[in-house]
Homo-oligomer: 183 residues x 2
């Protein structure tokens, strides 16, 4: 699987159950959200701007996409978890399965970020991103075309300590309906 195929498989509407484990205190947080992953055109001004901000030739971007999410945590029910970002994969020259992922807003901090991704032989997308005060590591893989799993770790910037480990199970929305009807 290359990044183009991985993005193509990800396009759609997903319903996500996410559990965050705050390791120091053994706290569980439950987040329900809806995620939309949409194709963005290569020539979209936001893609070109993001590439330029990272000194990258926009011509080397592959399969840019937009993520939108909206959800609710049981930790702070007042606060709605909501956001949108554009992500731009840039494969390393001559490499089908590794490169950089640019995004105009990161998960752990509210600033733009560039992470390093690779795809394993068994189709897992692995992304590591270094922030000023933290590092994030994310693994995403498909169980079948309509179910994907995502494990995200937030680490101290030195990278050795894990602060939060979270797990999402994501189901394509029309499919979830069928599962419920069948059970």
């Amino acid at each position: 699987m290359d990044i183009k195929e991985f993005v193509a498989q990800s396009i759609g509407q997903w319903r996500s159950q996410r559990s965050a484990h705050h390791l120091a205190f053994g706290h569980f947080e439950a987040i329900r959200s809806e995620i939309a992953i949409e194709v963005v055109a290569d020539h979209d001004p936001a893609v070109i701007e993001l590439c330029k901000a990272h000194d990258i030739d926009p011509g080397s971007a592959v399969a840019p996409f937009r993520m939108r999410w909206e959800g609710q945590s049981d930790w702070d029910e007042e606060e709605e978890v909501k956001g949108t970002c554009i992500l731009v994969p840039v494969p390393d020259p001559g490499q089908a399965n590794r490169g950089k992922l640019l995004r105009d807003r990161g998960y752990a901090e509210t600033m733009a970020a560039a992470g390093d991704y690779y795809l394993t032989a068994d189709g897992t997308f692995v992304l590591t991103t270094a922030y000023d005060r933290a590092a994030a590591e994310e693994k995403i893989w498909f169980i079948n075309p309509n179910v994907r799993c995502r494990v995200s770790l937030i680490k101290t910037s030195a990278g050795s300590g894990v602060v939060t480990a979270s797990f999402s199970s994501e189901i394509r929305q029309e499919i979830r309906q069928e599962i419920r009807q069948a059970s």
Copy 2:
């Protein structure tokens, strides 16, 4: 990493936070448990018996171990989640990173089971086990020597539908104390 190293890294006392996502209903279950993973001698009668039950030469077993767990779920607080099992890896002839894992009691059903494991190039242990009415797929990997993650999927026996997806973050017990003190 071969199976012997993977088992050696796993030996110890772990404190686990597990979140189970019951996908049809979007239910979250939170389980806290303590897990002990202990070395079992190659010549232990339980190891020899388990090999014989699967028509396997006990001489081909490598690094057998015992798991004990004890915990509590927020779903049914009356019921204590408690168990013990012996696990016996049997590498395929001439293969360092794949083989069978015998166990005297499975997760999804209360019967003995044999699963197929492999270790990926980036050190993830992947185990698939077919039961009569279900199939289980488990991935375990170390973040550092003292933190490991485990994702377990229970699928329908045909293997396409995912019934439960669960995620455990497991911290070596003496280390957890240090994390708490530092934060």
